[in-house]
């Protein structure tokens, strides 16, 4: 199911949560809504689900206007941050709920429901646990139950609110792969909200980055990482050292660094350099120098923390071989292979 969001606006009291958001989600796509807390990403998800209603704009499922249709009538699968399982029901009853509450003709027979529940529990790899109660499950297992319950109604779209937020790192990693597998197996259009960029970049086909109730950029993970559309995206996605300064005649200058800034208008600007895009350079070609404070080898790279003479913290990362014999306290001359400069 294609989903179109058209200039949606939503305020809570006087606080604008969504500021004219437009977004197209292709059929079968896996989209991440990424943003800091308060960026409106959860509100957008809830508007798509029909749990909140916008003041302005439209929500279309296919070519049907669903803007003011209730969640119950939209046939969405929603997975809540805290799972929202029904505690007094067994796992199987939880999964069957969406089918059990159907009325008359639409309600499948008992055996059909049982078969569907079994199939779903197998899909989320909880085949044996149908008779347990939610309280008897681990966090990761509850998450799977919530997912199976949402999928039971054959939703036209699957919506997940911070699906891995409450889980520990190991479980999170494996469930991430699991969600991708389930998405690929069912082909259902899926939108999930996260504040964890690693999660968004690893899992999603496309990432929409939200800030202050508006979408800053939409694109494939490598696009938003390598070609950020603005200062916010650049600073939020991936690691970056931030410099504040000014552009004059195609050159960016701050207290600490000087960079080429072709095509950026004169005036105040911010520049970003990712840690791995710093390279060691001879003193006469360097664009900044730092005093190293901490050197931490991490797998194939060596991470260096340091500070410029003006006191700004700098993070850099070098390949093991090129790092040579770095010493804490030593002065390093760096130049940037690549920098992002935006007018402020």
């Amino acid at each position: 199911m294609t989903i179109s969001i058209r200039s949606v606006e939503k305020t809570f009291g006087r606080f604008p949560a969504l500021n004219g958001v437009s977004l197209e989600i292709a059929d079968g796509e896996l989209l991440a809504l990424l943003g800091p807390s308060g960026s409106g990403k959860t509100t957008l998800l809830r508007v798509i689900a029909g749990l909140e209603f916008p003041e302005k704009g439209q929500v279309l499922y296919g070519d049907q206007d669903m803007t003011y249709t209730s969640a119950a009538a939209r046939r969405v699968g929603f997975v809540f941050q805290q799972y929202a399982l029904f505690r007094h029901m067994t796992v199987a009853k939880n999964v069957a709920f969406g089918l059990d509450v159907r009325k008359g003709q639409a309600k499948p027979s008992k055996s059909e429901i049982t078969a569907r529940v079994d199939e779903l529990l197998k899909l989320v790899e909880l085949g044996e646990l149908g008779k347990r109660y939610p309280a008897q499950l681990s966090g990761g297992q509850r998450q799977r139950v919530a997912l199976a319950r949402a999928l039971a109604v054959n939703p036209s779209v699957l919506l997940l609110d911070e699906p891995f937020g409450a889980l520990d790192a190991t479980v999170r990693k494996s469930l991430r792969k699991e969600l991708r597998r389930i998405h690929d197996a069912t082909g259902v259009t899926t939108i999930f909200v996260t504040h964890d960029q690693e999660e968004a970049l690893e899992l999603a086909d496309r990432v929409a980055i939200l800030n202050k109730g508006a979408i800053e950029q939409i694109g494939a993970p490598h696009e938003v990482h390598d070609n950020p559309a603005g200062a916010f995206v650049c600073g939020f996605v991936g690691e970056a050292n931030r410099f504040e300064g000014a552009v004059k005649g195609g050159r960016f200058k701050s207290v600490d660094i000087e960079l080429a800034a072709p095509g950026v208008a004169d005036g105040a600007a911010v520049a970003f350099v990712r840690p791995h895009e710093f390279v060691l350079a001879p003193a006469d070609q360097a664009s900044l120098s730092i005093v190293t404070e901490r050197i931490a080898p991490q797998g194939a790279v060596v991470r260096v923390d340091g500070a410029t003479p003006s006191g700004q913290r700098i993070e850099a990362a070098f390949a093991r071989q090129s790092a040579g014999q770095l010493q804490p306290g030593a002065k390093l001359n760096l130049s940037a292979d690549r920098a992002y400069v935006f007018s402020a």
Partner: protein, 288 residues
């Protein structure tokens, strides 16, 4: 071959009294608890049973189950049950209103609910009796229709409803507050109607706490004395409650007879406690 030198490690002596826990104070707290329990609860209760056993068995049976006592039990337990059910219904609604909505004077309403806890029961009794008497404000409304409230079993039910209300509300409130709204949203997103959501998701989740509250209100109502005697009229075979019968027999120096009724009430109370605990154990199993 070289001789091996074994250095002897002396095993630590096991203490004579094994420590049960790293938290200190077990012996003191347990001792005080048992002493108080014995002095205040167990010994008096044993004395009641002992007093009742001074009679022969047929005497006991007669004292416990004569016509007058039976009507008194019926009224006490029947009225308490009706009052508990009434409180069950209105308690849910009241708790729902308090947890879910913001309205003016909410904290005042919240305080009024606790009034039956705090008010001396005799005060409540007098107030209710005055209001519901045939010439009272409320009683006068019903008197023309021939409905008498005060000085009848109906009056007893009203007094017992009054004192039981906070139990249901206060047991339900925290559970309702914990019942996250996302559970309701989950039900809605799965296609459940509002009615289905309440019937299949909210009420079952509240069930254990609700039953506990009703059971507590019932247990409290069975033993209630102060507020009832003013409004009940206290006519033998008609509007006389079991606790009052105990008082009456005491006043007639029939200590064994009074103890006998007390023993019956005690047995029922134990049964109630057992039921309440069973409900709570069941609720605990359903999860945090």
């Amino acid at each position: 071959m070289t001789a091996t030198v074994t250095s002897e490690i002396v095993a630590a002596r096991r203490p004579l009294v094994r420590r049960r826990s790293a938290i200190p104070g077990f012996a003191v707290t347990m001792g005080v608890t048992l002493t108080i329990l014995s002095l205040i609860v167990l010994i008096p209760l044993a004395a009641v049973a002992l007093k009742a056993s001074e009679q022969t068995f047929p005497e006991f049976l007669h004292a416990a189950f004569n016509e007058r006592a039976l009507t008194a039990y019926r009224l006490s337990f029947g009225a308490a049950l009706i009052a508990a059910v009434i409180n069950g219904v209105f308690g849910v609604l009241t708790a729902w209103a308090l947890v879910r909505y913001q309205f003016p004077f909410k904290s005042l309403v919240n305080g009024i609910i606790d009034l039956p806890f705090a008010l001396p029961t005799a005060v409540a009794g007098i107030a209710l009796a005055t209001l519901y008497a045939p010439n009272g404000w409320i009683g006068a409304l019903f008197a023309p229709a021939g409905i008498k409230i005060a000085y009848t079993p109906l009056g007893v039910v009203i007094a017992l409803t009054f004192i039981g209300l906070p139990f249901v509300v206060r047991t339900l409130e925290p559970v309702m507050r914990d019942l996250a709204s996302d559970v309701e949203e989950a039900a809605a997103s799965l296609g459940a109607s509002r009615f289905d959501t309440i019937l299949r998701v909210i009420l079952p989740a509240l069930g254990p706490a609700w039953l506990t509250g009703i059971a507590l209100a019932f247990a409290r109502a069975v033993g209630e004395y102060g507020s009832v005697i003013f409004i009940a009229g206290n006519m033998p075979y008609k509007s006389e409650i079991a606790p009052l019968l105990i008082t009456i027999e005491l006043e007639q120096y029939d200590y064994a007879g009074a103890a006998t009724i007390a023993v019956v009430m005690l047995a029922v109370s134990f049964l109630m406690l057992f039921v309440i605990n069973a409900i709570q154990a069941w609720a605990r199993r359903l999860g945090q």
